[in-house]
Symmetry: C6
Subunit: 74 residues, 6 copies
């Protein structure tokens, strides 16, 4: 299963997304993903140093700035 | 709804855009967006640490340097 | 009007360009732009912290390292 | 053998992946890779300064943020 | 004249190239350039803070990491 | 000779590769290169501040994170 299919399989689940830049991470429910790994998350929170810092709600994330994605256990 | 369609649905609304680099954020009215997530914002402000720092007015933003976009409640 | 058309409409005008990296900004007259937002500026100055620092003259800027472009009032 | 074929030849093996950004490295079993060098790793660990810091488990890594990949001896 | 044509017009001339990252600049004779602004320079020097730091000789530069290019007066 | 052809001409030779990020450089024998300047190096060493720091052995390098490549005299 190719990496992008693996991400498509996470739709509807809560995911952890590490972004490029100063250690931003996001957690939210994956609503959609395209071939560039652009992501649409709902109920997203921004985390710094592992702590929830800010509620973003609905957010679109640019794929090239995604470092890694992993599904969260619920 | 794919992530880029989600952004198209924000046209005419005020959006918050986090840029790559030293924690720049922009807020402005989304005028247009293309498939690369290049954005045209009007009445845009640059924010640092959540505070309005500078009025930019009309601004074009390069999509690959966009980290995330979310709509602002008005 | 798509974002790249918006930039084409700035040809012949003085523009402010924020670059990726350590807060470099450029100001100059936009001579040409392509679909990648590669820019050709003439009479360009490099600015640091809003102050003119260095005259570059004619300069080509790689589009993916452009963070934002806005027209300057003259 | 082209570089991407070289990475395909590491499928099923434990690999070390250096990511762009603040010195993140990952180690895990390479499950799949595509032409962009997007990677799917299982049993992945995040390393800082060469020490295991956090178990990530199953993780998808965006290819453009991969600096280098090398196979680990087992 | 499109930006990449402008760079092609610098072939055979000494150019100044600012790279992404920690303020690296290069100066050398532009030997070739392609549509991605990948550059081949000969007799290249690496500069830090405007001072020649290291002779590189013949060097290939990846276009996406080029911030700007300008011709040097000789 | 286009820049990528110039790199193909270095196959079988020892090369110095500067990577994006915190001043990582690699030296190794160039085994293969593709049009994205993805590289396969063998007998590669990681250098920090010009000193050999770590033997990597066989390593694949993502082209977009390559800043520059130059051949080493042997």
């Amino acid at each position: 299963m190719f990496p992008n299919k693996r991400v498509q399989g996470m739709i509807g689940r809560k995911v952890h997304v590490e972004m490029k830049g100063e250690r931003i991470a996001l957690e939210g429910v994956l609503r959609s993903v395209d071939d560039y790994l652009n992501l649409h998350l709902s109920a997203a929170n921004e985390l710094h140093a592992g702590e929830k810092k800010r509620l973003l709600g609905s957010v679109v994330v640019r794929g090239n700035n995604v470092v890694l994605i992993n599904p969260l256990k619920e």
